[in-house]
Amino acid sequence: MPVDVEARVIRNTRLSSDYNVIELAAPEIADATAPGQFVMVKPGRGGDPLLRRPFSVFEVVREHGRVTGITLLSKRVGITTSMLFDAVEGDTISCLGPLGKPFELVDPPAEAWMVAGGVGLAPFATLAEALVARGTKTTLFYGARSGKELFYLDWFASRGIELKLATEDGTHGDKGRITVPLERELQRAGSAEVMVYACGPEPMLEAVAHVAEKYGRPSQVSVERVMGCGMGGCYSCVIPVKDSGGGQHYVRSCIGGPVFKGADLVWD
């Protein structure tokens, strides 16, 4: 059951001129969150913005063994993300969650390959922790426009996550899209059992789902659609999903997702 928390901002760390990680005191949400779930966030009380916006839970914060809050990874693109970027310690931000279907986890001998594009890194910190706790070998494929926009590399490395990086300008890792190292590693993977997880822009998700399928690996992708309520009430965040009969139908990504099997989606 989701809860609505007037969450106090504990700290707000700017990672660059447009990325930030904001920590919110929402232990009730942190406690109940599974990897891949999201929260609906509303900074400010007025009519602008009127609606909440969806954010993946980035980290579950623990202090002295107790769960104290969550962080959100945000990129400043609109009004809500600007308010999150500018928020200061002590502000309160309304936070509704946890919402949505989480990732399905895999156990050894299966490996987990997480593929992130830009701010699509967001659901993979909690997923990585859950996978590591099960002893599942986990790799992060992480792509961005430039090396300056690759964040939290040490965080993942220190947890034993192998990193495969790509940047569009070639400043870090492979030059080009993240599918470059992904496809190379799939070619080398032999018969290893691999679950591919992906989050990022939809063209990237489509490319990752296709590459995974090409090499016979299942994928789970976390989509982001324009969302109104996060609860299944408004039917705005739909995404086309394949029917058994060859057709397609719209599924609400808030309650039917945001995590879908890559093979189930119809790409626009």
Partner: protein, 315 residues
């Protein structure tokens, strides 16, 4: 505060309180059962139902605007038969009061829907959608004319014992005359307003932001217009009015009721705060206590215009 009577009567239907979840803003109701005790809401109005399933419009289906939002969902829905089989049993178990919003492209479809739902257990009233701005066949052609409204309401009244509540569009010259036509046809109440036809354009791409090009505007931005329309209709008809349009707090509920609404519906605000219902009820009780009003029904239509100029309004 405990002595306050919030019960509300809409024709033969008695509600625990005047708050209703607006159609298309609450899924089929079951989606919210984890968060909200549905017995605490006066009634749940279902998402608009056609006879058959509908896929709705392609995304993008909503866009936010100042203090409001446009939607063009296109009445995606499971159809009446699946609703009765898959949703209604759960809603009965949850103790919800169910008002079913029905949409047809022809008069016969409305009549057929009314017949089917009249035989279903757990249906308490029918809201007749003759006002969806987003699809051609959603009855808007009925809702935009006096004759169309009269014909659809009187045809449905002939085949059902349930309270019949046409939902009116604000996209007409004179909503009060449409309301009068509904009353003359035997409607038990009217609900108003549906959304205002509107449009938003991305100036960078010069494309409409909605796939459907146009959509319906809801949210606090429309509230003053909706209040005025409820006020106009209150003067034109005797049957109960269910008012809606941008209600976001208890003050807004009270404003609609004072303007003449017997009950109200909450839509967009539920997207922002699914826990709004108990907050609205607390605020209403607090107001009634402060004003020593024992029954909320006594508040309806009590707007005092005696000291105001009112030549602008007809009739």
């Amino acid at each position: 505060m405990s002595g306050i009577d919030l019960t509300t009567r809409i024709g033969s239907l008695e509600l625990r309180n005047p708050l209703m979840a607006a159609s298309g803003c609450f899924g089929y109701g079951v989606e919210y059962a984890d968060a909200v005790d549905l017995t605490t809401i006066g009634a749940v109005v279902s998402k608009g139902l056609f006879l058959k399933e509908r896929s709705g419009h392609p995304p993008q289906r909503i866009v936010e605007t100042p203090s409001g939002m446009l939607n063009a969902i296109g009445l995606q829905g499971i159809g009446v038969h699946r609703y009765i089989k898959e949703k209604l049993p759960e809603l009965r178990r949850l103790g919800a009061t169910n008002v079913i919003n029905i949409c047809g492209s022809t008069l016969d479809e409305y009549v057929e829907l009314a017949r089917i739902l009249s035989d279903a257990e757990g249906v308490h009233a029918l809201e007749i959608n003759i006002s969806c701005p987003n699809i051609k066949e959603g009855g808007i052609t009925f809702g935009c004319s006096l004759h169309g409204t009269f014909d659809v309401v009187s045809a449905i009244k002939k085949v059902t014992h349930l309270p019949v509540i046409p939902k009116l569009t604000p996209n007409v010259t004179d909503v009060a005359s449409i309301a009068k036509s509904a009353e003359d046809a035997g409607a038990d109440a009217v609900s108003l307003v549906n959304t205002f036809l509107a449009m938003a354009i991305d100036v960078e791409t010069r494309r409409p932001k909605l796939s459907n090009i146009v959509g319906g505007l809801s949210g606090p931005a429309i509230r003053p217009i909706a209040v005025r329309m409820v006020y106009e209709c209150r003067r034109a008809i005797k049957i109960p009015i269910i008012g809606m349009g941008g209600i976001a707090n208890a003050t807004d509920v009270l404003e609609f009721m004072i303007a003449g609404a017997t009950a109200v519906q909450v839509g967009t605000a539920n997207f922002v705060d699914p826990f709004i219902w108990s907050k609205l009820l607390d605020g209403m009780r607090d107001y009634l206590t402060r004003h020593s009003i024992a029954r909320i029904a006594d508040l309806v239509g009590t707007v005092d215009t005696s000291t105001r100029e009112k030549q602008w309004i007809s009739s």
